[in-house]
């Protein structure tokens, strides 16, 4: 589904990603772990198309398309979804208008007619119920005054509406208490299918108790230094990241 080859990226002249190789196939769940500053969030942002990162080398292929040549909106419409570590508040723009614009742009991309108002509202209600999103929040401005947990749940709610092929969850667990983490994880698990894939970016093993990965990768100084099955996460939990310092990179 997505194939990242020798990806290098800079931010403000500083090289953050230094040769990432990663392939994710439909139905797979990949966890990317690593200490602070290792480049995890940068990788997520580069895939989504944030323009303050400069890709200096390498490629990303998504379903046969050269992702790096696509605008962020085209990437989204092609099926990539980024759940933000810090979801943005947008005063004056209601969740309903925001999602209506997003859904209709996606439909336009697929050559479909805009959704009728009644159908759209019905879908919003269904997806809110599926992800445990408080329906009172839907009429409010995007993320404005939402609690940390509500913001993260809102990300999963949007993911449920847009039904991406590849979802990247950037530190979705951070700032969540155990109950909120459970609810958010349940939402994500309900959306999993053999046709879509997930990349989980996280510090802690905690999230992986709820969303079980097929592969765990350790990112350190802009490179994937170790890849293994889900047992690697448990090992990291026990050993911490100190052992990485002895690695030759």
């Amino acid at each position: 589904m997505i194939k990242i080859t020798d990806l290098h990226a800079n931010v403000e002249g500083k090289e953050i990603l230094r040769g990432i190789n990663l392939e994710v196939r439909p139905g797979e769940v990949h966890a990317i772990m690593g200490p602070n500053g290792s480049g995890k969030s940068t990788l997520a942002s580069v895939i989504a198309g944030r323009d303050n990162f400069e890709v200096t080398q390498g490629e990303i292929e998504f379903e046969g398309k050269n992702l790096l040549e696509m605008s962020p909106e085209d990437r989204a419409n092609a099926g990539i979804f980024l759940s933000f570590q810090y979801p943005v508040e947008i005063p004056g723009v209601s969740m309903t208008n925001f999602m209506k614009a997003a859904v209709n742009e996606q439909r336009k991309y697929k050559g479909l007619e805009p959704l009728k108002a009644a159908e759209f509202l019905k879908m919003m209600r269904e997806k809110a119920a599926l992800t445990g999103m408080d329906s009172a929040l839907i009429s409010r401005p995007v993320n404005e005054g939402f609690s940390g947990g509500e913001k993260k749940r809102n990300e999963i709610f949007q993911m449920a509406i847009l039904e991406p092929k590849l979802a990247i969850l950037d530190e979705t667990d951070s700032g969540l208490d155990i109950d909120a983490l459970k609810i958010v994880s349940e939402g994500v698990n309900k959306l999993k299918s053999p046709d879509n894939a997930l990349i989980l970016v996280t510090h802690y093993q905690r999230l992986l108790d709820y969303i079980v990965p097929d592969f765990v990768h350790v990112l350190y100084k802009g490179k994937i230094v170790k890849s293994a099955g889900k047992e690697l996460a448990l090992e990291l939990e026990k050993k911490g990241y100190d052992w990485l310092k002895n690695l030759e990179i």
Binding site: A48, G49, R50, D51, S71, P72, E73, R75, A76, N77, F81, L82, F84, P87, V88, E89, I90, P91, G92, V93, N97, F98, M99, A101, A102, E105, Q106, Y109, P141, Q158, L162
Partner: protein, 400 residues
């Protein structure tokens, strides 16, 4: 010399005034204009205002500053007509309030006062709750350069409830200068919602000096919106003359091209236990200039005053300019007040957030700007007018 030339050559124009720092009077009065003759009464053409559709509104028109109506009508709880006629038929009210609220040390105001009463008179009797909005449509329609003056008087009686919309439009290809004055009295416990919109062409200049006085327990929602006009100067003064007045003063400016918009506001907290909220926002593009100069005065007697003032501006490009001066003068010691201003660009994080959901960049920008403007529009009581303004603003922003 005609009247306009006399003004133009007056030395008063050259007096330096802090209040006119960014919009000097000499700039406003620059150019050649011929004063409108009051005999020159025009009827508005139906096509001039067909766009603004508020089905249930009571409408009254002025053309080039002169009220078109030749009778005082009573409809939907409003008593309304030309101020000239009201000076005869409602002599008591006109004598009591006309020229009494206006600050005649302000030059455009003083100039207007010397003219004949030509504008609109609106009164709501005590205890009357009007059921429909009253819409005043001021049209500038001229083939040659004209100077027009209009004087309006609004008297809202005790315990009355009313909603008034003033829409200023132009259908002229000539350069025009309008010097308008409004005096508004809001008696005890009256609730008034007032929206004023400027939507004229680039060749027009418009000075709007609006003085309001509130009495105890009254509530006043005043929204000033500037969408068009080459030069728009608005003086909005609000005098809280008794205890327990509640005022909301909102403003929205959407300016582009070479527009020059200057909002001067003054809220006078003269008495204790009043509350005012002021919020002015602007979206400024191209080579347009927007000025906000907001002054709040809390006098020594005005204890327990609550006064908030905020000015938020978005600059869309490097050619546009914003000058902002929020001022708070407090002479009482038991008050709750704040003021502040921001100038920024569209939030890049919010734009990327929307793009990452598949929304293209220009749609995302439009959503952000409409959202920014909507904070003011949502304060307008009339939903049909709110919707009309939102679509009007979106149209302006799409063609930016």
């Amino acid at each position: 010399m005609n009247k306009f030339d006399i003004i133009k050559n007056s030395e008063f124009l050259n007096l330096k005034q802090e209040k006119y720092k960014y919009t000097p009077l000499t700039d406003i009065f620059e150019g050649e204009y011929v004063p409108v003759s009051l005999d020159d009464r025009k009827k508005p053409a139906e096509s001039d205002f067909c766009e603004i559709k508020i089905d249930d509104a009571i409408k009254i028109y002025t053309v080039n500053g002169v009220c078109v109506s030749d009778e005082i009508k009573s409809e939907g709880g409003f008593v309304y007509g030309s101020l000239a006629l009201a000076a005869k038929e409602h002599k008591d009210l006109v004598e009591k309030y006309c020229n009494r609220l206006a600050d005649n040390t302000d030059l455009p105001t003083a100039l207007n006062i010397t003219a004949v009463f030509s504008g609109v008179f609106v009164a709501v009797d005590p205890g009357v709750k009007t059921t429909r909005p009253l819409m005043i449509i001021n049209i500038i329609d001229a083939d040659s350069n004209i100077f027009s003056q209009q004087h309006n008087l609004f008297v809202f009686g005790e315990n009355s409830v009313a909603e008034v919309i003033e829409y200023n439009i132009g259908v002229s290809d000539a350069s025009t200068l309008a010097n308008n004055l409004s005096e508004t009295v809001i008696k005890s416990n009256a609730q008034v919602d007032f929206v004023r919109v400027h939507d004229k062409g680039l060749l027009s200049k418009h000075i709007s000096s609006d003085y309001s006085r509130q009495y105890s327990g009254s509530s006043f929602n005043c929204t000033n919106i500037v969408l068009g006009g080459g030069l728009v100067r608005q003086n909005t003064e609000l005098h809280l003359a008794e205890k327990h007045c509640y005022s909301n003063l909102y403003g929205l400016v959407v300016a582009g091209d070479k527009q020059h918009v200057d909002n001067y506001t003054f809220i006078d907290h003269a008495m204790p236990e009043c509350q005012s909220n002021e919020l002015y926002k602007s979206i400024v593009n191209d080579k347009a200039v927007n000025i906000f100069n907001g002054r709040i005065l809390v006098r020594p007697d005005a204890q327990k005053t609550i006064a908030f003032q905020s000015n938020k501006n978005v600059l869309l490009n490097t050619g546009a300019r914003i000058y902002t001066k929020p001022q708070l003068e407090i002479y009482a010691d038991d008050v709750k007040c704040s003021h502040g201003a921001t100038v920024g660009q569209l939030n890049e994080d919010a734009l990327f957030y929307m793009q990452s959901r598949g929304i293209n960049k220009s749609t995302a920008q439009l959503l952000l700007m409409s959202g920014f403007a909507n904070e003011i529009l949502s304060k307008i009581k009339n939903p049909a007018f709110q919707e009309f303004l939102l679509s009007r603003i979106e149209k302006i922003l799409i063609h930016r």
